[in-house]
């Protein structure tokens, strides 16, 4: 190392105004042999694993192929998708409300918001879902209608997942709002903009930069998390394949069917997140 600097230093002319051509020294990067070896090793291991998966007949890839696009699986996928979308939208709407309450000047509203978030984050979603599923035991009738008729499994799934989602969304949105510089709000106030306009036009769009990455995580988590509704017999993607393998006992290939769909949709969502993040980064240095 020191030998190298010694041999180089004297032979180097003042570089900026050195004439191009034979006198310009060539740069030789460090040879990273270890790095190459590690990469080759890992690739070999991965290839081996892939070969074993493809050639192991127990995976029954033909069964996977046969069920991948059957009506019932696609219907299950459809339900998973719209349930995810609805829960995200409703959850973030309620979460934004909770965040605003939490940041309001009203102590009672602050406490209510805090209490909600505390309660719904402190209990497992499985327990919450079973609770709403059995709410009829506490309130046999709501507004004169039998609770069991009013709240079918799908409605229970939407309500249960949304209330849970909102508690997390509230914290994400609150963090986003707090990340916006205080001067932004003061500028908006001094321009006479009303509270609703300040929130919607000035604060939330800037908060989005810190909201989108965790919201993307939540979306992917929710997509997979909706599979929990299979325990209350809602026919989502997971439940649809379960219905099949309870009949045919082809458990592994059918779980692979569900897995492939979850992976496909999740990959698309990650890609979408990239574009959404880029959109909300506009106006910051380094873009455009």
């Amino acid at each position: 190392m020191s030998a190298q600097t010694e041999t180089h230093a004297p032979s180097l002319p003042a570089p900026p105004d050195a004439h191009a051509g034979e006198s310009a020294p060539r740069i030789v990067p460090v040879r990273r042999t270890g790095r190459w070896a590690a990469a080759v090793l890992v690739l070999l291991l991965l290839a081996g694993a892939l070969v074993s998966v493809v050639r192991n007949d127990a995976f029954q890839w033909d069964v996977v192929g046969a069920y991948l696009t059957t009506d019932s699986v696609l219907r299950g996928l459809g339900l998973t998708l719209w349930l995810t979308g609805l829960v995200m939208v409703l959850g973030f709407a309620l979460g934004t409300l909770l965040a605003v309450l939490r940041l309001s000047g009203n102590r009672v509203l602050q406490a209510v918001s805090w209490g909600y978030i505390w309660l719904f984050r402190s209990t497992p979603i499985l327990v919450q879902l079973l609770f709403w599923f059995n709410i009829g035991a506490l309130y046999p009738q709501i507004l004169g209608i039998s609770t069991v008729n009013l709240l079918g499994p799908v409605t229970v799934a939407v309500i249960g997942l949304t209330l849970h989602e909102a508690a997390y969304a509230a914290e994400v949105v609150r963090g986003g709002i707090l990340s916006v510089e205080r001067g932004q709000l003061e500028a908006a106030q001094s321009l006479g903009l009303g509270p609703w306009r300040r929130l919607r036009r000035i604060v939330l769009p800037q908060a989005m930069r810190s909201i989108v990455p965790p919201a993307g995580n939540m979306l992917i988590g929710t997509l997979k998390g909706t599979s929990i509704v299979s325990i209350i017999a809602v026919q989502d993607l997971l439940y649809s394949v379960q219905l099949v393998y309870h009949r045919t006992y082809e458990v592994i290939p059918l779980l692979l069917v569900a897995t492939l769909w979850y992976v496909a949709v999740t990959s698309l969502l990650s890609l979408g997140q990239y574009y959404v993040e880029r959109h909300y980064a506009r106006g910051t240095a380094g873009t455009r």
Binding site: E181, A187, G283, R288
Partner: protein, 263 residues
């Protein structure tokens, strides 16, 4: 010290500040401020850091509430309604309405980074005053030309230099056609070579007869455009008068000490 200006000259005061006190917790930041600013005049506020200059400016458009005393702008109490011997706090809507008549320019510009220059300027006229978008755009373009940035309408703030951003911020404040402009150290966040372009814009406004209160450390600017220079220290106005008096023949030792440091 601060004679009621109406009586002295007959010109109505645009801004009246009367025995204003303001504390943050146990710290009294404003300790009885009296100040009048006549229409069309430029008042420059000087003073060491922490003397309460920003706080005073912020009380004038009710970004800070006063604890005692009152402030009126263009004959209207700021933030309160008087009935008998009581001051009733106004609802936010009414305060926002009052703020549209007072322009505020911040040290750090506080432009909205996610909106273009044009969108920054038309936001308040459209959203707060309900002006038609087309009119707002037309006058925004005129204002941009006035601050020398006609070609920057579609840029985002972060693409502009600090001096350009501050000029946009001035145009944004002017878009509401305010009766009064407040500047809180408008050049303090700028690289030295950009200070001039912003001061030039403020000087133009001064010559056009805009009523302004400017907090700044630019003594040369004060000497050139101020009708009144106010020196503040520890929450009080120590001395005020024409620049020739306050800057060149300060009566108070504290003013002298401060000037010797900044000059």
């Amino acid at each position: 010290m601060s004679a009621p200006t109406e009586e002295a000259t007959g010109a109505p005061a645009m801004v009246e500040i009367r025995s204003v006190h303001k504390s943050f917790g146990a710290v009294e930041v404003l300790r009885g401020i009296d100040l009048s600013v006549r229409a069309g005049e430029v008042t420059v506020v000087l003073g060491p850091s922490g003397s309460g200059k920003s706080t005073l400016l912020r009380t004038v458009n009710h970004l800070e509430k006063v604890d005692q005393g009152w402030i009126s702008v263009d004959g209207t109490l700021v933030g309160y309604r008087r009935s008998g011997n009581k001051l009733y706090e106004l609802r936010e809507r009414e305060v926002l309405r009052q703020r549209t008549r007072i322009g505020f320019v911040f040290q750090n510009f506080n432009l909205f980074p996610h909106l273009t220059v044009l969108e920054n300027i038309i936001e308040a006229p459209v959203a707060a005053l309900g002006r038609p978008r087309k009119d707002a755009v037309a006058s925004a373009e005129r204002l941009l030309a006035r601050v020398g940035l006609a070609d920057k309408a579609g840029s985002y703030p972060k693409q502009l230099s600090g001096g350009q951003q501050q000029r946009v911020a001035i145009a944004r404040a002017l878009a509401l056609e305010p009766k009064l402009l407040l500047f809180d150290e408008p050049t303090s966040a700028l690289d030295p070579e950009l200070v001039g372009e912003v001061l030039d814009v403020i000087k133009d406004l001064a010559h056009a007869g805009t009523t302004m209160i400017v907090v700044t450390h630019e003594i040369g600017f004060a000497r050139e455009v101020a009708d009144t220079v106010v020196f503040m220290d520890e929450g009080r106005i120590v001395e005020q008068g024409p620049p020739a008096d306050v800057l060149d023949r300060p009566a108070q030792e504290r003013t002298r000490a401060f000037l010797s440091k900044v000059l």
